[in-house]
Amino acid sequence: MIQIECPFCGKRDQSEFSYGREGQITFPALNADENSWYDAVFLRKNTYGRQIETWQHTHGCRSWLLVERDTVTHKIFSVKLAHTDWQEQIKKTT
C-alpha cells in the first residue's frame, strides 16, 4: 500500500488520506474570465510519471499536502504542507 509521510503525523497508510487533484492547479481570481476558470476546474494534465498532487490527511490532522508521486510506480519523492503559512493563520484566528 502507498504510505505517505505526513509532516505532522508521520508515515501513515494511504487509506487515511484522500486524493485531491493535480498540484499545479491554482484557481484564478473570482472576476477572471471564464476560460481560466474552465481550465482550472475541468482540464487535467493527467501526467504519466512524476507529478505534484494534493492529498488531504482526512483521517488524521486534516492538513492538505503537496505530494510528489510517480503515477506509474506509485513511488513518492517528497511530501510537504500545501499551506506553508499555517502558523500565521493560526495566530490570526486565536
Binding site: M1, Y19, F42, R44, Y48, Q51, E53
Partner: protein, 426 residues
C-alpha cells in the same frame, strides 16, 4: 492476401467433431503494417475494433488499420466485469446506450461469433422508499423511451434471488429493486475476437505489438504516426485508447483534457455451482458493489476505483477490503469462498462521467474516450457512432453534445450529479 476463415455453424462444428477439429483456420490475418492507410485507428480494444468493423461494414470503406501496442483485448477490453445495461437517463446517453443494447441483442449473429451475451437481468437494490422512488423516475424515463424496466418488491426478490442477505437486522435491509431484464453480461474476450475477426474479413488490417510513439503534426493536420514498427501515414486518425488518451493527446501537443486516468479493480472467485442468475448491484452508505456469476462458475465482482490517479494497472489493498466487506454484507454465504484472482485496468474518467466522441482541434483527428467504468456495454454503439463520425466528418444528432467543449457551454451530461471531480463518477 485474403485468408479463408471457416465460418462457425452447426454443420462445421459437427464436421470438425469427425475430423479431429482439424478443419478450423486462423481467425484473422497478422499483416505487416503498410506505410499508408485511409484511416488508422489507434487502440485495439473493443471500441477501436468495433469502429473498424462498422467503418468497413456500414460505410464500405477499405483501407483501414487498427494499431495496438500490446495484443487486442489486453487493455480494459479484457479486464472488465462485462455488465451490459442501458439504464442511462440523460438525453444523448439514453438513445446511445439503448442503441448499444439493441446491437448486443444481435451481435453474435452479426459477427458470426458467439459473444455469449446473456440477458440475465440487472438488479439494482434499494434500501429506502425514497431511494426507490427517485430511481423509479429514471426507470420511468427508460420506459417512455423504448426500453424495459420493472420494480421488484422485496418479497419478489426473496423468491428470485434467494441468497442475498434479507436479514431484518442487516445494516441496510433490502427494501426493493429496479430491474432491467434485457440487461446482462457477455464474454469480453469473445467480443474483441469477434469484432477483430469480422473486421479482418472485411479487409481491415489488425496490427498488434505496434505502439504509437510520436505524432507528426503540421498545424491543423496530422501527417503520420511514428510507431515501433515504422512510420504510418493516414488521411484520418482516430484515437480509441481509453486510459491512455491523455498520453496520446500530449504526443500531438494538444494540451490538457477533461479526463483523468484511474484504476478500477475486478475480482473473481473459485468456480462454484450455480448460485446467482442475475447481475446484482448493491450501493448504499458509501458502498458500491456489483456481482454476477460467470459461465465457468466464478463469481465476478467489483467496487469503486482506487480513489487516486494512477496508470499502474495493479489494484490497491484498501479496495480489496471494501469490496470483500460489501460481498459479505450482501451475500453472507460467500464467507468461505476463495478469491482466485484480482486485477485492475486504467479507466479514462471524465469530468461528468460521460464519454467523448467528437472532432478535435486537428482536422483529421477524431476522439473516442472518457468511458469511465462503463465502456464495455457501450462498445457496439461506440463503434457504430464513431464510424459514422469518421466517415461523414460530423457527429450524428445523438452524440452531438458528447464533445470536449460541452463544459464550456455548461452542458454537463452528469448522470449521478457528482460534479467536476473524475473520481466521483463511479
Amino acid at each position: 492476401m485474403a485468408l479463408q476463415v471457416t465460418r462457425f455453424s452447426a454443420w462445421n462444428v459437427l464436421k470438425n467433431g469427425f475430423i479431429g477439429q482439424s478443419g478450423w483456420s486462423r481467425q484473422w490475418r497478422d499483416p505487416e503494417p503498410k506505410s499508408k492507410y485511409d484511416i488508422v485507428i489507434v487502440g485495439g480494444g473493443l471500441h477501436g475494433l468495433a469502429t473498424a468493423y462498422y467503418l468497413a461494414k456500414n460505410f464500405n470503406l477499405k483501407n483501414i488499420a487498427v494499431v495496438e501496442k500490446g495484443w487486442i483485448g489486453g487493455g480494459n477490453a479484457g479486464r472488465n466485469t462485462t455488465i451490459v445495461r442501458s439504464n442511462y437517463m440523460l438525453k444523448g446517453n439514453r438513445e446511445f446506450y439503448e442503441h448499444s443494447l439493441k446491437l448486443w441483442e444481435n451481435l453474435s449473429h452479426d459477427l458470426n461469433y458467439n459473444v455469449m451475451f446473456s440477458q440475465r437481468s440487472h438488479i439494482t437494490l434499494y434500501h429506502t422508499p425514497s431511494a426507490l422512488d427517485s430511481a423509479a423516475r429514471r426507470y420511468n424515463i427508460m420506459r417512455q423511451t423504448g426500453s424495459d424496466a420493472e420494480i421488484w418488491s422485496r418479497s419478489k426478490l426473496e423468491k428470485k434471488i434467494p441468497h442475498l442477505n434479507y436479514a431484518k437486522n442487516a445494516r441496510f435491509p433490502i427494501y426493493g429493486s429496479l430491474v432491467q431484464k434485457r440487461a446482462g453480461t457477455a464474454r469480453h474476450d469473445a467480443v474483441a475476437w469477434g469484432y477483430a475477426r469480422a473486421a479482418d474479413k472485411l479487409g481491415v488490417d489488425i496490427i498488434q505489438k505496434c505502439e504509437v510513439t510520436a505524432i507528426d503534426r503540421k498545424g491543423q493536420k496530422i501527417n503520420s504516426l511514428q510507431t515501433n514498427r515504422g512510420k504510418i501515414s493516414a488521411k484520418k486518425i482516430a484515437l480509441a485508447v481509453a486510459g491512455n488518451t491523455s498520453r496520446l493527446w500530449h504526443l500531438a501537443n494538444l494540451g490538457n483534457l477533461p479526463i483523468e486516468s484511474h484504476k478500477l479493480q475486478a475480482f473473481v472467485t473459485e468456480p462454484l455451482k450455480p448460485l446467482l442468475d442475475q447481475v446484482v448491484v448493491f450501493g448504499v452508505g458509501g458502498a458500491h458493489f456489483y456481482i454476477s456469476q460467470s459461465d465457468k462458475g466464478g463469481l465476478v465482482f467489483g467496487g469503486d476505483i482506487d480513489w487516486y490517479k494512477s496508470y499502474a494497472q495493479r489494484g490497491n489493498l484498501p479496495i480489496v477490503q471494501d469490496v470483500a466487506e460489501s460481498a459479505i454484507s450482501l451475500m453472507p454465504c460467500l464467507g468461505r469462498v476463495k478469491l482466485l484472482r484480482h486485477w485492475s485496468g486504467i479507466v479514462d474518467m471524465s469530468m461528468d462521467g460521460s464519454f467523448f466522441m467528437c472532432k478535435t482541434p486537428i482536422d483529421n483527428l477524431y476522439l473516442n474516450a472518457g468511458w469511465n467504468y462503463g465502456g464495455f456495454k457501450a462498445s457496439p454503439a461506440s463503434g457504430w457512432y464513431f464510424a459514422d463520425l469518421i466517415a461523414n466528418d460530423r457527429p450524428s444528432e445523438i452524440i452531438k453534445n458528447h464533445d470536449l467543449e460541452r463544459f464550456k457551454r455548461g452542458h454537463y451530461i452528469d448522470e449521478s450529479g457528482a460534479g467536476p471531480d473524475t473520481k466521483l463518477h463511479g
